[in-house]
């Protein structure tokens, strides 16, 4: 399998408290990869490391086959980047920013840029410093899309945008992806947003990658089971038991959070003399929360 982004034992340190990695990230080519994690978990740092904007302490990064940072310029010819905070020159107008960006990117699509300008309802002669947060986000996305990249790296592209703007931005993104088949690496702490569009998820927590799986296995794998009369020793379950807690209903009811659940595993409970009362599906956000919770607390029993 070829990867759009691949890191090897990537490590970084900032100050005494923040430590990242060792990180082995694999973003499959052609995927829409959701990069999840709470604020401060190291998402932005990872992205900046991958793009050669921060100097890694150890480890290597390859993006679209280019070594980073040594081949960063060649890499940036094929990568559209939307940073967390606008990095554009505030004294330029929207049109000037477009002209500047277009002058540097060979694949710049003037027509697409003009269309997106209309779609996003941006005024060409507004100064960037005067744009609202939403307009700024749209402009950043416009620039990244109109350069027709093979890889889009989006760092919280919709953070702080109102729902209408967010919808416009996502629609433009999806439109571009369906047309070009580009890889998208998108970080967000807004899980709902990613739920619709991603086919891979990576979850960061406290500077570590705690999961990296295809979306369907992530969404389907994590379940909340309501179990009655469970023995103290779980034995050897066919699934991964993430957590075991007392239920809030009748006594003797427990809630198990499991990963890798399949319907055929019901038999296991009969084997240990317990009753599986219910299997609750978790959506991405709940799964995400459970994953973080269980990743942080060492598993009991």
């Amino acid at each position: 399998m070829s990867y759009a982004i691949e890191t090897q034992e990537l490590q970084y340190r900032a100050g005494r408290t923040f430590e990242l990695g060792p990180l082995n990230l694999h973003v499959p080519a052609g995927a829409i990869y959701g990069f999840l994690g709470p604020n401060g978990s190291g998402k932005t740092t990872t992205i900046r490391l991958c793009l050669g904007l921060l100097r890694a302490e150890r480890g290597g990064v390859r993006v679209l086959g280019h070594d980073v940072p040594s081949q960063a310029p060649a890499m940036f010819a094929r990568v559209g980047y939307v940073p967390e905070r606008s990095h554009l020159y505030p004294n330029l107008t929207v049109r000037e920013a477009l002209a500047l960006h277009g002058a540097f990117h060979r694949r710049w699509d003037h027509q697409a840029a003009a269309e997106l300008l209309g779609t996003f309802q941006l005024q060409g002669d507004t100064r960037i410093g005067r744009l609202s947060k939403g307009e700024n986000g749209k402009l950043l996305m416009l620039l990244a899309l109109a350069q027709r990249p093979d890889l889009l790296v989006l760092d919280e592209p919709t953070d702080g945008l109102d729902p209408v703007v967010r919808r416009d931005v996502l629609m433009a993104l999806i439109d571009f992806v369906s047309e070009s088949g580009a890889t998208v690496f998108i970080s967000s702490h807004l899980v709902h947003e990613l739920e619709r569009i991603c086919d891979w998820v990576g979850v960061m927590d406290r500077g570590r990658l705690v999961a990296e799986v295809p979306m369907h296995s992530f969404k389907n794998g994590i379940k909340r089971l309501r179990v009655r009369n469970a023995p103290a020793q779980a034995g050897d379950p066919p699934f991964v038991l993430l957590a075991r807690e007392r239920g809030d209903g009748a006594s003797g009811t427990e809630v198990w959070v499991v990963r890798g659940w399949q319907a055929t595993m019901r038999q296991y409970f009969e084997g240990i003399g317990a009753v599986l009362q219910d299997v609750v599906d978790l959506d991405l956000e709940e799964g995400f929360v459970e994953l973080l919770r269980t990743a942080r607390v060492p598993r009991g029993s």
Partner: protein, 220 residues
């Protein structure tokens, strides 16, 4: 690429360049006028006093050149410093390439100011007939101004291209050495360090030789 960088450099420095070009045009005119070289009655001319006025006014040229260099360097780097260079670093060109583009764009903007100096000198010198024995140096001033502006720009540009830490370190070390030397001098310990540094900078083969020396528009 270069054209695009030139446009944004122009946008960042246009006001300063326009202002400095205006000054550059006016300075020769004012020099000639203040010194007393105006058309018409030349019987009351005291040339030696007038020449010394011209010489004094001439010091404005290197000052203007340094200010121009500084303005252009600030224009070239301030936006990038504000954005912590992220935009520049995400462009698909190597760092050195980008730096050269920036430098070239600023260098280009020296031209209008140099032209203003040349024009100002020409107009100023054309406004009266030079007395016998005196010569005018409009061309030399213009060329020297161009060189002085170029080297000032290059120096401030290089200084500003570094990280804040590098820039602070270079400026800090220079200042510290000079201050230390001056303090020692005040306590009677002659070090000649400050003088040595000045010499190294302002005489050949130092970089700023062009800034010092005669800048008189009119001389013998």
């Amino acid at each position: 690429m270069f054209a695009a960088i030139c446009r944004i450099q122009w946008k960042a420095s246009a006001l300063g360049v326009a202002l400095l070009a205006t000054l550059a045009f006016i300075i020769p005119l004012l020099t000639v006028q203040q010194a007393g070289f105006s058309a018409g009655d030349r019987r009351g001319w005291d040339l030696i006093v007038m020449l010394s006025a011209v010489e004094t006014a001439g010091t404005l040229f290197p000052i203007l050149a340094v200010i121009l260099g500084l303005t252009l360097s600030v224009g070239a780097w301030s936006a990038d410093h504000q954005a912590e260079h992220v935009y520049a670093l995400t462009l698909p060109v190597p760092r050195w390439h980008y730096v050269l583009l920036r430098f070239g764009a600023g260098l280009l903007l020296i031209a209008p100011v140099v032209a203003a100096v040349g024009l100002g000198c020409a107009v100023a010198l054309g406004s009266f007939d030079l007395p016998a024995g005196l010569r005018s140096y409009g061309g030399a001033i213009t060329l020297r101004f161009a060189l002085a502006a170029a080297v000032s720009y290059a120096a401030t540009f290089a200084l500003a291209a570094g990280t804040k830490r590098t820039t602070a370190a270079v400026v800090g070390v220079l200042t510290a050495v000079i201050v230390l030397a001056l303090v020692l001098e005040a306590f009677g310990v002659s070090t000649a360090v400050a003088e040595g540094i000045m010499n190294a900078i302002f005489t050949r083969p130092g970089p700023f030789e062009v800034l010092v020396g005669p800048w008189s528009l009119i001389g013998v």
